[in-house]
């Protein structure tokens, strides 16, 4: 295609190997992932017009943690730079909007999360309404279990269906060098395990992962200087829902995902591959339906979030994986999704297309 100056593509993606516990600092993880993606597209860092990262103070265990991470960029002389307390996929969205201002051609977005610093069932209690939910000790796993129970009660899925999602993702992950949890499992074997939060078993939960990833975006014709077959962002949108799951009308569906998917134009054509961020196995079933995907779409060839789940990085990796399907794997139209908050509260959908 002949891109207009408002067409923006992902032209490079690098992720570090996921680790259960990395001995590197967040700054080091950012340094390694950004150096790799910059080398991949063959530019000098001075050519980057805007840099933005996504990370979380509570995961790193200190306030202003992103400040040290910016040391990885080499900011002498000063650069255009920003940070979101969100997954790197939203950092990518800010980079996309920044490129649309029209004064720069290249931007870099980074995600980093050292999830091993804390026990997720303890830490994520402070992610909720501080007056009504946090004092109860409510954690992400418990709320996910309530959502899973609602899904079972609705008749849409069973615990066996959940396990089948896990078996497929772990099998897919075998061919992904950046997977932490992978292998051949049987549904019956998985279902023999005890519950962690009824009806969820260990395999239904996301792994704990330390990881960083980075993407480079380019605007208009500049994209071809950096990448033979750029992954053009042809639709992107994100939506949030009410915080308390009890306020939402039906937690067996994802209204915000459906609205974002429509706004991103998912249904305008077939989706070859979808990289869905479902932290909990059963959420993949909800998301497939809310995204409007049919059986022709290959879902999570990487193994998805069940293969590696570094909160703040996992969403950007979905974007990178979906982009690589176009850049490296010859696919034409792919989708990346990421979520945040309890019971799929917030969702981002990105549609990527390659030249045909």
């Amino acid at each position: 295609m002949a891109p207009s100056e408002n067409d923006i593509a992902i032209v490079g993606f690098a992720q570090l190997p996921p680790e259960r516990r990395s001995n590197l600092t967040e700054s080091d993880l950012v340094l390694r992932s950004t150096r790799e993606v910059i080398a991949q597209v063959g530019i000098d860092k001075s050519e980057i017009g805007f840099t933005v990262s996504g990370s979380c103070d509570y995961l790193s265990g200190q306030g202003f943690s992103f400040v040290q991470n910016t040391d990885a960029y080499g900011m002498v002389p000063a650069i255009n730079e920003s940070h979101v307390e969100m997954d790197g996929a939203w950092a990518m969205y800010e980079a996309y909007v920044r490129l649309l201002q029209g004064d720069i051609d290249i931007a870099m977005a980074v995600g980093v999360g050292k999830n091993s610093n804390s026990d997720p069932s303890t830490l994520f209690t402070v992610e909720f309404d501080p007056y009504y939910l946090t004092p109860l000790g409510t954690d992400t796993w418990t709320l996910a279990a309530l959502q899973a129970r609602a899904l079972i009660d609705s008749g849409k899925a069973t615990e066996r269906d959940f396990a089948e999602v896990v078996v497929r993702n772990r099998a897919n992950a075998k061919s992904n060098p950046f997977a932490q949890v992978k292998g051949d499992y049987s549904v019956d074997e998985l279902l023999a395990a005890d519950y962690v939060r009824n009806p969820l078993r260990r395999h239904d939960l996301p792994p704990t992962t330390d990881q960083a990833a980075a993407v480079i975006l380019a605007r208009g014709k500049r994209a071809y200087d950096l990448c033979e077959r750029p992954a053009w962002i042809t639709g992107i949108d994100h939506r949030i829902e009410a915080h308390l799951p009890t306020v939402r009308k039906d937690i067996t569906t994802s209204v915000s995902t459906r609205i974002a998917a429509e706004a991103a134009g998912v249904g305008k054509g077939p989706i070859d591959v979808a990289e869905i961020h479902a932290p909990f196995s059963f959420q993949e079933l909800i998301l497939r339906e809310s995204l409007g995907l049919d059986a022709s779409t290959e879902v999570n060839p990487s193994g998805g979030a069940l293969a590696a789940h570094s909160v703040m990085t996992v969403g950007l990796i979905r974007v990178g994986e979906a982009a690589n399907q176009i850049i490296k794997n010859g696919k034409n139209r792919t989708l990346a999704h990421t979520t945040s908050g309890p019971c799929l509260q917030q969702n981002l959908v990105c549609v990527l297309e390659g030249d045909q």
Partner: protein, 385 residues
């Protein structure tokens, strides 16, 4: 620079106080947003997207509070975005919101920044959530001492800024501190905090929020009250430490201002800009930023303070709202600067209005005086004619 013109049509803020025990965090942000909607003659349903900014989540002890605040800010089924760039975050929140309109992504965007510092321990959070924090005053005092030594400024400059900003704050109905009876002697006699900074030369710790509503050119022209037009935005960062760094006069501060001036066509900032809201949490930062943003020549910033040029009736008023020295809900402090600049060019600043303000700048800085956010706003799209 922007694709499409952006107008500011709604501004709201809370009454800032040491402790807003009368409201939850949700109540606090809603109070500011509601005032902005009323100012814009809009309702919640008119807003297409919400951008939320605040400093570290450790301040209140709530991780990613935008999740919980989605309902209170009318963001359900809409895009909600969260910015965190340390002390400059309020400014960044305004800039990100304006970009969503200039890029054509949305027609009406609400940017909101807050801090409810009374819910936690700000000194603890400012130290990165670790013990033995020296706080912001401890971090910046060495830079200030260095400025005084280099510039040869007399010691009363800091006291003069403290008095001037508090007298301005006394005219601002929303200010936390309203010290109408403040004097140089009172500042001079207040306890020494971080040499040379005395208690009354330091910012308070506040609960507060600020909201700004952006819309496109059509929306700006149709607004019931005069809009402010966003003429330029810039965010610049440099490392907090590097060999050869000058933290008194950071290169990023110069780069940020230069980009703004170039975009707007400002060649003589002192003459062409009508007033400025600069992030001055400690008195001496007024002359320091006047120099680092190239409004005053090197070593001359303090003379603008001394001559009264930066007072409300001077030729280059600074911090007409009372500034950070009068209200400091940290995450919101940057957006309060940006909002006051817009209020000035809209002619809606009431008792702290600068007569005939057509072009104003606002700035916020963060971390180790290394992150800078700045914008220029005008009463028209071309205030320089």
């Amino acid at each position: 620079m922007s694709h499409q013109p952006v107008a500011i049509v709604g501004i709201g803020q809370t009454h800032h106080k040491r402790k807003r025990a009368d409201v939850s965090i949700a109540g606090l942000v809603r109070e500011a947003a509601q005032r902005a909607l009323e100012d814009a003659n809009m309702d919640w349903g008119d807003i297409d997207a919400v951008v939320l900014g605040k400093a570290p989540d450790f301040f209140e002890g709530v991780m990613k509070p935008e999740m919980y605040l989605a309902d209170a800010l009318g963001a359900v089924n809409k895009p909600m975005f969260r910015v965190h760039t340390a002390g400059s975050v309020g400014g960044s929140t305004g800039i990100v919101g304006s970009h969503l309109v200039s890029s054509g992504r949305h027609k009406r965007v609400l940017s909101l920044a807050f801090e409810k510092q009374s819910e936690g321990n700000a000194q603890f959070a400012l130290g990165g959530g670790k013990g033995a924090s020296i706080g912001a005053g401890g971090a910046f005092a060495p830079f200030i001492r260095s400025y005084i030594q280099r510039s040869g400024a007399p010691e009363d400059i800091g006291w003069m800024v403290a008095v001037k900003d508090r007298l301005n704050g006394a005219k601002n109905p929303y200010a936390h501190l309203k010290l109408a009876d403040i004097t140089i002697d009172k500042v001079k006699e207040s306890p020494m905090m971080w040499d040379p900074l005395r208690f009354l030369e330091s910012c308070p710790s506040s609960d507060g929020a600020c909201a700004v509503i952006f819309t496109d050119e059509d929306g700006g022209k149709a607004a019931s009250k005069p809009p402010a037009w966003v003429l330029a935005t810039a965010m610049k960062s440099e490392p907090g430490w590097y060999s050869g760094r000058d933290p008194v006069n950071p290169q990023a501060a110069h780069a940020c201002a230069q980009e703004i001036y170039k975009t707007v066509g400002i060649t003589n900032p002192r003459e062409q800009i009508d007033c400025a809201e600069l992030y001055v949490p400690f008195s001496w930062y007024e002359p320091m930023w006047l120099e680092a943003h190239e409004i005053a020549a090197p070593g001359e910033g303090w003379k603008m303070t001394q001559s009264g040029a930066t007072a409300l009736g001077g030729d280059f008023p600074v911090n007409m709202s009372g500034g950070v020295l009068s209200s400091n809900p940290i995450g919101a402090s940057g957006l309060l600067r940006f909002a006051e600049a817009a209020l000035q060019v809209r002619g809606l600043a009431e008792d702290h209005q600068v007569g005939g303000a057509n072009l104003a700048i606002a700035q916020a800085y963060g971390a180790n005086a290394q992150f800078f956010a700045m914008w220029a706003v005008g009463s028209s799209l071309n205030p320089l004619g």
